[in-house]
Point group: C2
Chain length 455, copies 2
Amino acid sequence: MKKIFLLAGFASVTAFAQIDTTADEAFIRGIYDDALLNQQGYQWLHELCKEVGPRLAGSEGAERAVEWAQETLDTLGFDRVYLQPVEVPHWERGELSVAIAGSSIELNACALGGSVPTPEEGITAEVIEIPDVDDLKNYTREDIEGKVVFFSAPMRQTYINTGSAYGEAVKKRHTGAMEASKYGAAAVIIRSVTTRMDDAPHTGSMTYEGAEERIPSIALGYQSADRLHNALQQNPALKVNMTLTSQWFDPVMSYNVIGEIVGSEFPDEIAVVGGHLDSWDLAEGAQDDGAGSVQSMDGLFLLMRSGYEFKRTHRVVLYMNEEFGLDGAREYARVAQETGERHVIGIESDGGGDVPRGFSIQSLPSGVEAVESFKWFLEPYGLREYSIGWSGADIGQLRNDDAILLGYRADSQRYFDYHHAPTDVFESINARALQLGAASMASMLYLLDKYEVRP
Amino acid sequence: MKKIFLLAGFASVTAFAQIDTTADEAFIRGIYDDALLNQQGYQWLHELCKEVGPRLAGSEGAERAVEWAQETLDTLGFDRVYLQPVEVPHWERGELSVAIAGSSIELNACALGGSVPTPEEGITAEVIEIPDVDDLKNYTREDIEGKVVFFSAPMRQTYINTGSAYGEAVKKRHTGAMEASKYGAAAVIIRSVTTRMDDAPHTGSMTYEGAEERIPSIALGYQSADRLHNALQQNPALKVNMTLTSQWFDPVMSYNVIGEIVGSEFPDEIAVVGGHLDSWDLAEGAQDDGAGSVQSMDGLFLLMRSGYEFKRTHRVVLYMNEEFGLDGAREYARVAQETGERHVIGIESDGGGDVPRGFSIQSLPSGVEAVESFKWFLEPYGLREYSIGWSGADIGQLRNDDAILLGYRADSQRYFDYHHAPTDVFESINARALQLGAASMASMLYLLDKYEVRP
């Protein structure tokens, strides 16, 4: 039997504890075997995508998703399955038509999430093409007033981690309408934030906070953006007609769905694993974040059916409305604080269902050190990349010196091909990649619990 | 400027040479930028899949592929582009029908590559289900004679590297008919060798070497194999009707396609990069091995257009008929030996177009050490897995104490979902993953050439 020693300095209970590598290796191997053979998460994802379908917070689809998740968790043997009420916004995209006046050029487009509608008669206006939001400063109000601003810059392909490219590119989606409104723009069109040069339009949240006026904001598919660009090269004075019937309604009540197992030794210390149950309305939300939801469910269930006895209380939390305001995660964190619950471990999966690459770690340095001391166990399964500083949008709401928060990191190359687009469907997920992720999360949960790791 | 030192002991010319990490990092970064921005390999793959299409050695498709490759290489500025004649087998699969007698259960099937036909009137016989070839020893000739043997074991899901699972599972495809013929079997049906539980049948090569008699051999889609298994549970005496009109023809002349740049300092030392141009006939051969072909082409072309001055002679070699006898690779190695050409470096890509994971190294230990000293440069691009002992089927023909042979390793999770099946089409390839592979191969070629690495 090989034995290695935990590094000193992080674990208040088990400092210098011996790690039984042979037994842990075998246990973890068993978790991966079960995940790959039974593909439980993949089967759940099929149900979530094909039976529940799109599930934008506030929609009927989201209601069905809550029911499906609760009913599914109810069958798994948790000590408690419950719904946590969350008020969420209710927006519907209605119908969109957009065309170049007097032209038959096809423009595939979708409204950005939260966009106001156009006037009933639509907007007909000239287009001014500007690469990105930061370039607005090179223009005057006179240049832009009354026009449709077309932010045409593509997402940068040269980042290796596409998440970094997204961080840069999403600004025009999120703040484009707000910023352009300060110059008197009539509406905003953006090139979809995507790594794939196809023609699927990608939606996503936007904000009017700080806007001079609320103006409609839509996204074109990558190829449609090229067509509009080319048409503008031919005729800079062309006009677009745009009609959008999106609508805001009163907020509605929805729910986080939670399954809980009470810990045998430290019931007051809580470890959560989760993804977000809501998706955008254009597709099945397989990658974003059906994958993370079922990986979290299967991750915990893999440990439950292994017979492992949890020392701490463990929860799977399926957050409502990550996409449109993080309401579920904020409410979960608020209730935790109010009731004095102590969250020590959090794992989130919200980067798609591709092959595992590693974890990102949000913790004090001692927590980072602890997680990195386990790397060795997960290398055989392809997890070799650990970064520090950020975990995830939902789990990040729990940040606290007491907590070790981890973002499970799937390979990022494909994720933004599908993200928020009609192409984000079940068929874009590889079963083995998804299941390797569930097993990776389960294995990390196991090590953190067994060795009672604290920052 | 950071500098690191090459380890001693491997490089006969540049032992202790300083590696200029800053310049090399920047150069490699430029290679990846070009690969990701221009996606040249991905565009070529589209042509090869959609314009050329399936290209089994000996077929018209393979002839078109040779023409396409030669014409494409002709435009890239090589010192020489040439065809190397290779005699290849010519087999055509004809038509297959297979059904359970008196049943409407659908069986999706394909002939295995090289199978003899059934008699014109077909075969009607009982089926005996046996998990795998090794289990034949538990049966007598009496049990099997005159029956169709159904090898029903699935590929094992629990391997993390699916290549290992393939190595185990492929035995029944390759030798099943040969072994079953020794027991007097009438024909063989196998469950497709695949990681995906869909219904696409997967073909692949088989052998009659050592067979008592040449009997037909076919593969069922995974789900069809389940259906046959279930039907046998209901009625062990059921019969199948099978008709196959496959045909062997005389061998035909085909070609390896080669592009060469003469080295400026060591023109007599040769570095090759390659994949195989032929594919199975059921699909476009995007993963196997269109991906490796275009990665090899783009890999070398990336260096050419960077302005890098090659010290050694570099060749891209697109091998003919890897699938059905390795004729192209054997002929290339034979000619190299006959003419006394000295091959010092070889890189092959034949594991699909998914995201990079690393390289496998076939070399004396000093060569392994040299390659591993470069790992640092490729880690930012996701290459962290290096194994020792095996490079690839084609490049492996050049093995020699003088040579460092490398297999580029893409992530293996998806590869056998598509391998040899009608689903191996262009759409299964992710552009960024493919291009990262091309850049990884280019970067390794660059480092090995610039630092004049020898085993």
